[in-house]
């Protein structure tokens, strides 16, 4: 379950960002981009995220995973194609091997959505 390790890395990165914010905002959504040509299973990532964020500053935050398809570029045909993962990777027209990968290897924390409730701090008592 390497998704556990990846989730740990994700939480640490977001925590560093959060700690650098003066107002420690409430994180509502974390957007990830996960390519289909990686060893990451989005469902496992969701599960690990839910378990690991319980009782932390990220409790209740939503993990939004955008998957990107595997897209290769065939030099000979000068065109992009979508290999069928698990079955076929060579160019469907000229059968050249999959050389240039244009999309599908992404594994990225894209952006964070957070709420800023206006600071209504109780006045310090005299």
């Amino acid at each position: 379950m390497h998704e556990t390790d990846m989730t740990k890395a994700l939480i640490i990165t977001v925590r560093d960002w959060w700690a650098s914010q003066p107002e420690r905002p409430e994180v509502s959504k974390i957007h990830l981009i996960v390519g289909q040509f990686t060893c990451v299973e989005p469902a496992s990532l969701q599960f690990a995220f839910e378990v690991q964020t319980r009782g932390t500053f990220l409790a209740g935050a939503e993990l939004v995973i955008q998957e990107t398809p595997l897209i290769a570029f065939c030099q000979a045909c000068a065109s992009e194609y979508r290999p069928e993962i698990g079955l076929h990777y060579a160019c469907p027209s000229c059968h050249a091997p999959m050389d240039d990968i244009r999309s599908g290897r992404e594994l990225k924390i894209d952006r964070i959505e957070y709420g800023k409730t206006p600071c209504i701090k109780p006045l310090t008592k005299p």
């Binding site: 990830l32 800023k116 409730t117």
Partner: protein
């Protein structure tokens, strides 16, 4: 009133591991060591290959092994018989080595030996065709093993591992006559995913192909940038 804000981060999920891997590689480069990350499914023959490699090359190269064994020192003990330093990293239940674990191994190596004396560090990863492919440890080259008993379709099913590999050793070729396995199909499937990969069929039992593998290592040693390791393929 609740306003929503947005902050673009664009940080790689494996950023921390990548930094650690780069740090490890900088150490290897400083000591002029070539590091190879050896990966396969459990039982493909990583340890048997290392035994043959140490027996053949330890007289001419100074080699150390970083051994990722899940809970035991069985593999490490097998390799220590060849008189080379074997640092066993107990990975617990982890399914892969990561840069931090290998950094621990490098530290041990540094304390027990003069690291500048070594030419080659072989990292034996945890047996797994999935995760080790995503976690760099600071290697200059990735070596994948696939035994003939695993079937021709494995490169298609675990493509990331075979895509990332610089060398693919098809192991246990001595068993091929007893199996309904087509070696050419394994090669064709691997090539579909990785046209640049150097493919060497080997048998640790009969010695077939091992000379080619040893020559590949000889060419890779001392050339510590990944590009140079790749260019050693032509040798």
């Amino acid at each position: 009133m609740h306003q929503t804000f947005d902050e673009a981060l664009g940080i790689n999920l494996l950023h921390a591991n990548q930094e650690g891997a780069d740090h490890n590689r900088a150490h290897f480069d400083e000591w002029d060591i070539t590091c190879l990350n050896i990966m396969s499914s459990p039982g493909a023959g990583k340890t048997a290959l290392l035994e043959k490699t140490l027996a053949a090359l330890s007289p001419e190269l100074n080699i150390a092994v970083i051994e990722g064994d899940m809970t035991t020192e069985l593999d490490a003990d097998r390799l220590r018989q060849y008189g080379v330093p074997v640092i066993a990293i107990n990975t617990g239940r982890s399914c892969h080595l990561d840069a931090r674990m290998v950094a621990g191994g490098i530290h041990q190596l540094k304390h027990q030996h003069n690291p500048a004396n070594f030419d080659l560090v072989l990292v034996e990863n945890v047996g797994n065709l999935v995760c080790p492919a995503e976690f760099e440890v600071g290697e200059h080259g990735k070596v994948a093993l696939l035994s003939v008993t695993e079937g021709e379709d494995k490169p298609l099913k675990y493509p990331v591992m075979f895509r990332e590999a610089d060398v693919l050793l098809i192991t246990k070729t001595d068993l091929a006559p007893y199996l309904d396995v087509d070696l050419n199909q394994i090669v064709a499937n691997a090539r579909q995913i990785n046209p640049q990969v150097k493919i060497i069929p080997v048998s640790a039992k009969t010695g077939e192909g091992l000379a080619v593998w040893f020559d590949w290592i000889r060419a890779a040693v001392g050339k510590t940038s990944p590009q140079l390791v790749s260019s050693a393929e032509g040798a």
